[in-house]
């Protein structure tokens, strides 16, 4: 396999993988943010109690 072909394959696979991951992180990350604030608030309440 030539270096040129190798870099073409790496580029196409890399871009495709990143596009899929970006969609997942965008959706699941928003849910994680909600959970993050909830957990921090809970830990503060436990600390006060």
């Amino acid at each position: 396999m030539s270096w040129m072909l190798l870099w073409k394959i790496v580029f196409v696979i890399g871009i495709s993988g990143f596009a899929l991951m970006a969609v997942w992180v965008t959706i699941a990350g928003a849910k994680d943010i909600k959970r993050l604030f909830k957990r921090i608030e809970e830990s503060h309440e436990e600390g006060e109690a």
Binding site: S2, W3, M4, W7, F18, V25, T26, G29, L36, S43
Partner: protein, 513 residues
Amino acid sequence: MNAETSQLLSQTNFTPLDWGIVVVYLLCSVAVGLVARKFVVSMTDYVSAGRAVGTALGVATLTGTELGLITVMYSAQKGFGGGFAAFHIAVAAFITTFLVGASGFIVYRLRSLEVLTIPEYYERRFGRRTRILGGIMLAFGGILNMGLFLKVGSMFIVGVSGLSESSGALPGVMTCLLILVLVYTVLGGMISVIITDYIQFVLLSFSLLVVTGIAIVKLGWENIFSTILAEMGEKGFNPLVSEGAFGTEYVIWMFFLGLVACGVWPTAIARALSADSPATVKKQYMWSSVSFLIRFLIPYFWGICAFVFLVTKAPDLHALFFPAAEGVEGMNNLYAMPVFLGRILPAGLIGLVTAGMIAAFMSTHDSYLLCWSSVITQDVVAPMMGERLSTPGRIRLTRILIVVIGIYILYWGLVYDGRDDIWDYMAVTGAIYFTGAFAVLVGGLYWKRASSTGSILALLCGFVAVLGLSPVQSLFQVEWSSATVGLSTVGCSLAAMVLGSLAFPDRPKEGTR
């Protein structure tokens, strides 16, 4: 800069609409800092977001931190000069990050120990003096490492918006960006950092993919490859060719850099330590390996496209960057990619892309500023003062240090005049810390006989790396590549760790493992 050059560089599609998009984004970022402030109660909230970050958010924030505008700029510079052969750095980063995630090498054990910072681990394993020295080395190497971030990031904005016609534009943009990033980092700490990292991830992912698509459409997929082949030949594709920009030694150095960038570099480790469990850390790293690939791959490609654009579409710009006359210095090639984007992207989209890049700039700066300042507070000042430094006192000191470091990077960006490629500058300055840290972490986590004396000697060996900086080489009148200096420093640190530990073992009661 003469009138003709100014006129060439000001030919951009950047319009007032684009400035509007950028300003709205910046205002939103400051608002996030203000909102996040009310959640900061403890030092753990401020530095590690309460250790409550899930996998997807962890991936977003790790990507947000490590895919900064500085990364885009230095990577584009490598692609511009080295062609597709630069892709090996991206592949090395992908492989090493995935393997660290799959194996949990270093990161899993560190998260299991529930330490806040790497030097805190040093104290548990090797004692207080290792922690303080480790903190000093970390802060010294890290702050030097980010010394050019502000300048290079500002060069992007100046280049893409066509401001480069004005000689005062660069320091002006540097000052504005610095003030903005200081405001919300000081206010919110790690919680606001994580939220803005997420916003940046969404905006930047979109920008990276769309711009790449437009570049391919404008230049032609096959034309990009054939132009590099015609202009650079074999060395534009094969990184092992010794007469090219890289060579075998450089490739080995890049694999080591890939390993330490995810497994030892404190801003990456900070994300691992913020995860909600050790198992999350492993998943976070395996997913993030794709980001570690892309953070290099796409900017390299943009740099390559900028080169192809100059050669095939813009002979006026080509003459500016590669002047035919002998003795005439070409334009700084860091400007090539932003000028290229300013020419090919339509108005509106270019504002979104610039906002994405500023987001990348800010999310890297906030993480780095927070990281180095909290290391100085937690690992240098607090251990020296014992219990006398209260939690509010620590947060206040961290905030003061953020501002001090910010002022330093403004100064350093204006005065440093090294000839190094930005990537090589960063590798060398980072090596001051990570070569010793790698030896100490691996020794501490995986070798029972590792001793505190060995750890001190290994950390001190990191100073050898300053020999890789061009001003230092000029001083000693030597010329060594960054790879030679970096790999030699790694060897010195590992040897110091092993020999120091064998020669000066800890007494049994000092072992705190």
